[in-house]
């Protein structure tokens, strides 16, 4: 039974990774789960220089989900390479590095730096962070800018490129095609949804940033539809995410067209989730007598 998934030149031993920003830099959860059982480790978004992040409160709990506005706090490229790369480099499974910038040039520069580093599994271009003014969200909602960012990164590196799509568009198809045509090896669908919550006792927003991204089971039905529509629009593989808690959720995303999946918010309340999902997919394949995990991808039926 073969669970491996190929994303450009990156081979994931199984289709389950973790969502950027919900798994730190891998090392933190290494005390609770065996990272080498994952399909890949995806790290928190990184830009060229260190980022302090937003004031607190940064997250709030909502029905079947949460809001976050972390503000992409991070050590920058050098800090990451110094503090976290020595640990990640030793893993048996590939590392997906989520990158962002405030200009097309910065995206390309960060891509170049990680290309030079060597040993990186893939780069995930976050063109859709809703939580900081220059968090790349505008790149994700403007087809031309999106194409520029992807093309510039394509020039800057031979590493597999995964474009992380913004959910916040009337029709995802043209954006998916723009990423594919500009040289993206895969798509990540989807990022969080712009949202907000107010504490009616204090009349203040529950997040210091006022708005934040909605994630968790609440968004799953919207995310599944975005994956289904993106899959119809492009040939490159899709990493599906949005509220995955169980193997059944992951299989739903795969049936809609995802080649791989990422577990996000669920890690926070159940860090074992990614491993349960891998086990559940294996079990399902046995029941169905599938030999290739790809047999699940796009297996939705309409008649």
């Amino acid at each position: 039974m073969n669970l491996a998934v190929q994303i450009g030149t990156m081979r994931m031993p199984n289709p389950v990774t973790v969502a950027s920003g919900t798994f730190g830099y891998g090392v933190e959860y290494s005390r609770l789960i065996d990272l080498n059982q994952l399909g890949a480790v995806t790290v928190k978004g990184i830009r060229l220089n260190p980022v302090r992040g937003n004031p607190t409160p940064r997250t709030a709990e909502v029905a079947s989900g949460m809001l976050n506005a972390i503000g992409l706090q991070g050590p920058g490229v050098d800090g990451f390479i110094k503090k976290y790369w020595p640990f990640l480099r030793e893993l048996k499974v590939p590392t997906i590095i989520n990158i962002w910038g405030t200009t097309v040039e910065e995206y390309a520069e960060v891509a170049r730096r990680f290309d030079a580093l060597g040993g990186v599994g893939a780069l995930e271009l976050n063109v859709s962070c809703p939580n900081i003014k220059e968090g790349g969200a505008q790149f994700g909602t403007d087809v031309k800018l999106l194409a520029q960012v992807v093309a510039a990164c394509r020039k800057a590196t031979s590493l597999p490129l995964i474009t992380k799509m913004s959910p916040n568009v009337p029709n995802i198809a043209p954006f998916a095609r723009a990423a594919e045509e500009s040289g993206s090896d895969a798509l990540a669908v989807t990022n969080s949804f712009p949202a907000m919550a107010i504490d009616i006792r204090t009349r203040r927003p529950k997040l210091a940033n006022i708005t934040g991204g909605l994630t968790g089971p609440a968004i799953k039905p919207i995310a599944v539809k975005l994956v289904w529509e993106a899959a119809k629009a492009v040939k490159i593989p899709i990493i599906g995410m949005g509220g995955i808690q169980t193997a059944a959720d992951a299989i739903e995303f795969m049936m809609a067209g995802a080649a791989a999946v990422a577990v996000g918010t669920a890690n926070f309340y159940e860090p074992q989730t990614p491993l349960y999902v891998v086990a559940g997919i294996r079990e399902y394949m046995e029941q169905q007598k599938f030999t290739e995990v790809g047999q699940i991808t796009g297996s939705i039926k309409f008649s």
């Binding site: 919900t22 730190g24 940064r58 029905a63 706090q73 503090k83 976290y84 890690n267 926070f268």
Partner: protein, 269 residues
């Protein structure tokens, strides 16, 4: 943030041994956790998933109050959705816990400073193990709004500590804020003392100021909202001084206990 091999911790499904009302809105919950209990350091916390909560997904953090060889307990106040559901759970029912978590209090070395503990409300929960394991006994200053907010006085006394209680309404102990008797004590002689505090942020801030005024060391346990509790999500950060300015550090990992000198009480603009 550090990648240095962090201390041992466990995620486990544990069953409730007891879950009884203490006073008013306060409850004591004891769970069976033989692998976790021996690992616990004073001031550390457990991140609890209240399994019957369904549409509310996140774990809730609680200081580890007491430990036996095969159990640990928490002392919690019913303040919202999660703690309300928790308060109605029966022994035998299960919870998922990740523990022990966080950087706790420094247990005074033999012959080190005399510990003065300052606690507000459920802050007492974070103090018990410290009092129990400290080689030299000191004074516990405990404050609350009303008599019911003064928790486990007897247990601290039983450890041989002197307890000075204050209530804002005067219904128990001295009337006023917990800092009043503390100031009196420090005026009587501050040298060789060290402060340890857990409670509402305004109280912590007041204790930090006193420590600075009397130029004493102080360790403060900060209460920030948490999500992952394990250093991953960067929800729980507070501004901490660094060589070259300041940075946001995680109360769930670098904290919840920080030295008063580290803490920036206002985020610089």
């Amino acid at each position: 943030m550090t990648t240095a091999a962090a201390p041992a911790l466990r995620e486990q499904t544990v069953s409730i041994v007891a879950n009884d009302r203490d006073t008013d809105q306060y409850y004591r919950l004891e769970v069976r956790a033989p692998e976790i209990a021996p690992l616990v350091q004073p001031g550390q916390f457990a991140h609890v998933r209240i399994l019957p909560l369904k549409e509310a997904l996140l774990r809730r953090p609680f200081s580890i109050f007491q430990v036996t060889t095969d159990t640990f307990s928490i002392l919690y106040k019913n303040v919202g959705r999660g703690t309300d559901v928790l308060s109605r759970m029966r022994s035998g029912e299960e919870l998922s816990v990740i523990a022990p978590l966080g950087h706790g209090f420094t247990v005074p070395a033999p012959g080190a400073e005399v510990p003065l503990l300052v606690a507000g409300g459920y802050g007492m929960a974070a103090m018990y193990l410290l009092a129990q394991r400290s080689p030299q006994k000191g004074i516990v200053f405990v404050g609350g709004r009303r008599r019911v907010d003064i928790l486990c006085e007897k247990e601290f006394a039983a450890l041989g500590w002197e307890v000075r209680a204050t209530t804002e309404d005067g219904s128990h102990g001295e009337k006023g804020l917990v800092t009043h008797p503390l100031i009196a004590e420090l005026k009587r002689g501050a040298a060789g003392k060290k402060l340890f505090a857990c409670g509402p942020t305004p109280m912590l801030k007041a204790v930090a100021k006193l420590a600075a005024d009397f130029n004493l060391p102080a360790e403060l346990s900060m209460d920030e909202h948490m999500c992952c509790g394990t250093g991953v999500c960067l929800t729980c950060v507070i501004p901490i001084k660094t060589a070259d300015g300041w940075e946001y550090q995680r109360t769930c990992t670098e904290g919840p206990v920080f030295d008063r000198e580290q803490i920036l009480w206002e985020v610089p603009q």
